[in-house]
Symmetry: C2
Subunit: 203 residues, 2 copies
């Protein structure tokens, strides 16, 4: 097995943190996400969506999509459970993971893709108005997470889960998208200090 990834990109970091929490080691192979490589036939043959990370199994099958990779790892290395154990735990974690992904993470990514000069070749057309709109959306959605994190230790409740990994990577990605985290989000601040102090956060 190996993982084809790009060290600096946010989605591969989600997988690295996930593996670190489970103390599972899989070799990484760096793929430079420049426009020439992205447009290459080789990349399309690795993943027709032209995205990293890609988990390459020993029989050569490729599993793409961050959450599909993490779920596969959870199946073959169940402990500690980062997607939950009982039906209701699993539902809560999935709900919060998606709220973070489709809310905060997505808005930050859109702001980055549509406003950052270095994305001009990869996001065509860049639509600056859409990028600007997503800066506000990101703050609004971070505010919803803040309300939650004033009440619970982690996003899905008492236990650290994949939803916290997605949120940590999204919050750190805000710097690249030039979105400042509001000081008054005390729930997020308390949680951020906690999750970013875990050894896995350095992965």
């Amino acid at each position: 097995m190996k993982i084809i990834e790009t060290k600096a990109a946010p989605n591969p970091r989600r997988v690295r943190i996930f593996l670190a929490e489970k103390a599972v080691e899989i070799p990484y192979e760096e793929f430079a996400l420049n426009i020439k490589n992205i447009q290459s036939d080789q990349f399309a043959s690795l993943n027709p969506m032209r995205q990293v990370p890609i988990l390459v199994l020993d029989d050569g099958e490729h599993i793409c999509e961050t959450m599909a990779i993490c779920r596969y790892i959870e199946e073959i290395h169940p402990e500690p459970r980062l997607f939950g154990e009982t039906p209701i735990e699993k539902a809560r974690i999935e709900m919060w993971n998606r709220r973070v992904e489709l809310g905060l993470f997505f808005a930050v990514a859109q702001a980055f893709r549509h406003l950052h000069p270095k994305m001009s070749e990869r996001e065509v057309p860049q639509v600056a108005d859409w990028g600007v709109a997503n800066k506000s959306k990101a703050i609004q959605r971070l505010g919803l997470l803040d309300e939650r994190l004033r009440e619970t230790k982690y996003l899905a409740g008492d236990t650290y889960s994949v939803a916290d990994i997605t949120a940590l990577v999204a919050v750190d990605f805000m710097a690249a998208a030039r979105i400042e985290r509001p000081q008054e989000f005390l729930g997020v601040a308390r949680w951020y200090e906690d999750v970013s102090a875990r050894p896995s956060a350095a992965a």
Copy 2:
């Protein structure tokens, strides 16, 4: 248990098809997605993200997010398995479901939200250039699904799965977004005829 939904919206339809495939009946309660209701405190208390569908459990807990609801149903009514059974089946289905969601479904939704006059109060600001860009993205991503469906019966392989439900709803949603399905996508056409003939498609 009950499901709060909006009959005409695409995400609630994903849950209805999912339940129909499992022959599980849960009562539905209609929520009118007009701007007054969306902005109401009542809706925020049901779901801070202000989205449908919402699964209300017998103890009053709310499970939001379409995929969290479907996964919860899969846990308590496992057969027929729509998320797969073995680790590799689960990974393939999750990969394809996400490729459809984050690719086609998302692009169609953005085109609809940013170009349709009736969304002007709900998507603020509407960014027409972004809506137009997503019409092209939707066709490009449908083309990737077409390549797959020329090779396999269903998206994740030989067996119908939640990825096909997401794709069927996304393809039908193209009409509302005024995106025409290219005639030359013969793989999609063959698959569409198959999945839309299943009784669940009428759900």
